[in-house]
């Protein structure tokens, strides 16, 4: 996976240990890293004739969801920063852009099944991180 290079905690304790800012940043980084490859993938499979009809629309839907999720997380981050829950230290999104480009190059060379596999994993990662983050920040409901 093209995101394998990213250092991500892969255990509950580790996730709970890293500071919230870092976690947030990580989430955003991940989401960002997938933006480009997803669109590329969508273009790629449009010419695929063997796939069932749902796949195309589903893929587009997923891309949108990722994008929206990213936007949402950004907004939440801003809010959190403004509220002082997290600090403003890691605002270097620009750097992530740079890495994102190189990463996406790798992504383009993956096979479809690998792509999907990687995406599945990373989306699970993001989901878990977000949940942990949520419970760390707002422990009231269902945590």
């Amino acid at each position: 996976c093209h995101t394998s290079g990213m250092l991500t905690p892969n255990g509950k304790e580790y996730v709970q240990k890293i500071p919230r800012e870092e976690l947030t940043h990580l989430i955003l980084k991940l989401l960002q890293a997938w933006k480009e490859p997803l669109s590329h993938f969508n273009l790629h499979i449009e010419h695929h004739e063997e796939l069932p009809d749902d796949s195309l629309s589903k893929a587009k839907e997923i891309s949108n969801m990722v994008h929206e999720l990213k936007t949402g997380v950004e907004k939440v981050t801003e809010k959190m920063q403004s509220m002082g829950i997290i600090s403003n230290s890691l605002n270097g999104m620009a750097s992530s852009e740079g890495t994102g480009l190189s990463i996406s190059n790798e992504a383009n060379m993956m096979s479809d099944s690998d792509f999907i596999h990687c995406f599945r994993r990373d989306s699970n990662k993001v989901q878990s991180y977000l949940k942990i983050l949520k419970c760390r920040i707002m422990p009231e409901n269902s945590c």
Binding site: N10, N124, S128, I132, S142
Partner: protein, 826 residues
């Protein structure tokens, strides 16, 4: 005798024997040679079996002789072969001769010898079995050999080891039944290779000399062939599971153990790393498992796991198993399940379930989010109803049946990829039945009421059913004449009928005259039928008035009859037909004849007894059919209408109203006259002839038949053509009063029958004489004369005796008074 003798002899013999037995002494029993055998053809032995010894010590001696020799020898050696045996050594054994051997047993009393036995040495040769059988296995180069060794049977004479035996070997696996026999030859050892590893075999040998028989099989020897030594088979990894997304365990299926101890080791490597690790913990999760604790568990990385089985001969590795822990999470079932019944507002119970996530799952930190699903079914039901509940840990169930017992189970799964847990243990809950007293009472009341109503309804139906049916489906009216027996009618016996009706002497005799209104005058006085005479009330009215029931609906010539009933003198009242509406009915032929067709139905005879009180209504209406005339003296209009409409042209109903006592208005069948049509101008231009329709009586008495009163008579008043024709029925007595009619100015009375038309129509002419009703005898006479006829022909009307006398009409009978048809009323 003989039998007795024999039996006694037997008894004596037995006594002797028993005596002997008691004393225990007798001669010995017969010995028996069991067998003779030669071990090696040079010697042989014989054994015998002694018989009963007779109580004393026996001596046995064996005698033999060789064939073709007479000499008898004794056994040379009694000892060598054991007791009761004889051993013939080499010197005494001659293989080519046949020995004849007998054994004799001797004791003090006597002796006994066995049967002689012919023995041929060569045929009794049987060696002993081989001995010292030993087995060995040898495994080399994956082959197992069996090595068997034995020794020939021992002989007493060691020097004769030169005998050459043939050997045979047999073996079989321990559990099997069939032997495998191998011919070995003359050697005393043998090697076999095609044996199954790991099987226990049994081996035996036997020998034989070149002639004779095989020896017995030697004793069994067993040997276990060692199993094959192979490296183990390939183990397989069954599954890996993580119960809480923090640790995981893998289980494998071990390779089959073939006697050699096998070791299993689990090795894994992580994605992206080359290093291979070994399972950190083989014990925690049980045998053939490997437990990865938190430290060794990494998420979002793929593990490559293999198991290796090792034994002395080698090792074997399973196929690799790739695992990402994220996707193998299968939690434990939820715990702390509570079922609670609560009552809702409208008293229906509902179930509240609550549960907790399994203890290991870390839901609080959000690391693992569980979704729950519960299922329930009634205890006796077959299908579960599964309800997905989501992430909540409580649920309310409303749609449960009271009185039933339900089974509830819950399970959970991670919200992302993962596996459903096992179902929690079954929980039972019973929904109480809610017997609301009020409900039951209501139902009971409803039930009772409805049953009551049903009863009442059925009762009503039973009682009034008949009437209701009559109301709904009114019965078809049939002819009914009071006092008339239809049977009689059918038989046509007029006499009887008439007598039954109370009238005598139909056809009307002259007696009828008396019934007639006094005013009625018949011109022809031949038959004074019409002559109303008051004096002979005894004359039998030939015409019987029919009394009709008002509700019979049948026309009857009932009641206030047209005819003056003498019997009603006192109350004779003319039945005045109101001149309301007299319309001349349109005749077919346009004949303006007033037809007083009193087609009394043939049997309508007006009872004219003075005593009779029944008013006679006489209605002439000729029915087209032979049905009895429908006297329109009945309330229903229809009847008359019918009659009117259905009557032939020639018939016109003449209705004479019934007179009720002092009632000026005769309730002539009002109905009848209703639709009397105007008659057209008659052809006969008799001036005063008009057809008159009796019109409805003005009297609105709806009881057309004043049955109880007889109408005394009817006087037909004149009918004027240009006026409203009126038929006035005049009472004979109260002639003065009879002028009820409104007929203006008409002073004529139609009392004169002018013609009879068509044999059944009387045409009346006005009469000049007022109070002298001419007696129209003739027609009456005719009528009366032809009672039979009328009776016979069912269609004839009274009035029409016309058929017989078409011409007589003019004789002066100006009118047709009903009396003509009727026997004299008394």
């Amino acid at each position: 005798m003989k039998q007795r003798f024999i039996s006694s002899a037997q008894i004596i013999l037995q006594l002797a024997l028993t005596t002997v037995g008691l004393t225990g002494q007798s001669y010995p029993g017969k010995p028996q040679i069991i067998r003779c055998r030669s071990l090696e053809k040079e010697t042989f032995s014989c054994w015998w079996k002694p018989g009963s010894d007779g109580g004393l010590p026996n001596n046995y001696t064996l005698f033999y002789s060789k064939d073709s020799e007479e000499k008898i020898y004794e056994c040379p050696d009694y000892l060598t072969s054991g007791p009761n045996s004889c051993y013939f050594d080499k010197n005494h054994t001659n293989p080519w001769t046949t020995y004849i051997i007998t054994v004799m047993a001797t004791n003090e009393i006597g002796s006994n010898s066995s049967d002689p036995q012919h023995v041929d040495v060569t045929s009794i040769v049987q060696p002993d079995a081989p001995v010292n059988l030993s087995l060995e296995t040898n495994t080399s180069a994956n082959m197992s050999y069996l090595w068997a060794k034995w020794s020939p049977p021992p002989l007493a004479d060691a020097s004769s080891n030169s005998h050459v035996y043939h050997y045979e070997l047999r073996l079989k696996p321990e559990e099997k039944e069939e032997w495998e026999t191998v011919s070995v030859g003359m050697q005393t050892h043998y090697e076999m290779s095609s044996l199954q590893a790991g099987v226990k075999y049994i081996v035996q040998v036997r020998c034989m000399l070149d002639l004779g028989e095989w020896s017995e099989w030697s004793l069994e020897r067993r040997i276990q062939i060692p199993k094959e030594r192979l490296p183990p088979e390939k183990p397989t990894i069954i599954k890996c599971r993580s119960p809480e997304k923090e640790t995981f365990t893998c289980w494998w299926k071990p390779a089959s153990d073939e006697g050699l101890s096998t070791n299993h080791t689990l090795l894994y490597s992580k994605e992206g790393e080359e290093k291979v690790y070994e399972c950190p913990d083989y014990k925690t999760a049980g045998p053939n498992s490997c437990y990865f604790d938190k430290k060794h568990t990494s998420f979002w990385t793929i593990y490559n796991i293999t198991v290796r089985a090792t034994n002395e001969m080698g090792s074997n590795v399973s196929d690799p198993h790739y695992v990402d822990v994220t996707y193998i999470v299968q939690p434990d079932p939820p715990v702390n399940i509570t079922l609670e019944l609560k009552k809702s507002v409208n008293r229906k119970p509902y179930l509240v379930l609550t549960w907790s996530p399994p203890p290991l799952a870390d839901v609080r930190s959000g690391w693992l989010t569980l979704e729950y699903e519960l299922r329930l079914k009634p205890e006796e039901g077959e299908e579960w109803e599964t309800i997905f509940v989501g992430q909540q840990t409580q649920c309310k169930m409303f749609s449960l049946n009271p009185g039933k017992r339900y089974i509830v189970q819950i399970h959970c799964k991670p919200d992302h990829h993962g596996l459903w847990s096992e179902w929690s243990p079954e929980m039972y809950i019973e929904i109480p039945t809610d017997f609301r007293v009020k409900d039951m009472v209501v139902w009971i009341i409803v039930g009772v009421l409805s049953s009551l109503i049903c009863l009442i309804m059925s009762w009503i139906m039973i009682l009034k059913g008949y009437r209701m049916m009559a109301f709904i489906l009114p019965p078809v009216p049939g002819p009914k004449i009071k006092g008339i027996d239809t049977h009689l009618l059918e038989t046509g016996k007029s006499e009887e009928l008439l007598s039954a009706l109370g009238c005598h002497g139909f056809p009307p005799t002259s007696d009828c005259e008396e019934l007639l209104i006094e005013y009625l005058e018949v011109e022809d006085s031949e038959d004074q039928q019409l002559m109303p005479s008051h004096d002979t009330p005894s004359k039998n009215p030939k015409i019987i008035l029919k009394e009709t029931d008002s509700d019979s609906g049948r026309g009857s010539c009932d009641s206030p009859s047209l005819l003056p009933v003498k019997c009603r003198e006192s109350r004779a009242f003319p039945s005045t037909l109101q001149t309301q509406d007299v319309r001349a009915k349109e005749k077919k032929g346009g004949k303006g004849t007033w037809e007083t067709q009193c087609t009394a139905s043939e049997q309508k005879i007006l009872p004219c007894n003075s005593e009779s009180t029944s008013p006679c209504t006489w209605l002439a209406a000729q029915l087209p059919s032979s049905q009895p005339a429908m006297f329109a003296y009945h309330s229903t209009v229809e009847a008359f209408k019918i009659t009117l409409n259905t009557t032939n042209v020639n018939s016109s109903p003449v209705l004479v109203g019934n007179e009720e006592n002092h009632q000026s208005l005769y309730p002539i069948a009002e109905t009848v006259y209703d639709d009397v049509e105007k008659k057209s101008e008659m052809e006969n231009s008799k001036t005063d002839q008009t057809t008159v329709q009796v019109r409805k009586n003005q009297h609105n008495d709806k009881s057309p038949f004043l049955n109880s009163r007889l109408m005394d008579y009817v006087e037909v008043h004149k009918v004027r053509q240009d006026e409203e024709p009126t038929l006035l029925l005049k009472h004979k007595e109260s002639s003065g009063k009879t002028k009820k009619c409104i007929v203006p100015g008409t002073s004529k009375e139609y009392t004169k029958v002018s013609t009879v038309v068509d044999h059944h129509i009387l045409v009346l002419l006005p009469d000049q004489r007022m109070q002298h009703p001419p007696v129209s005898q003739e027609p009456v006479a005719e009528t009366s004369q032809n009672p039979q006829q009328t009776q016979a022909e069912k269609n004839t009307s009274y009035s029409t005796t016309a058929p017989s006398n078409p011409t007589r009409d003019t004789s002066g009978s100006d009118y047709m008074d009903p009396s003509s048809f009727m026997p004299s009323f008394k």
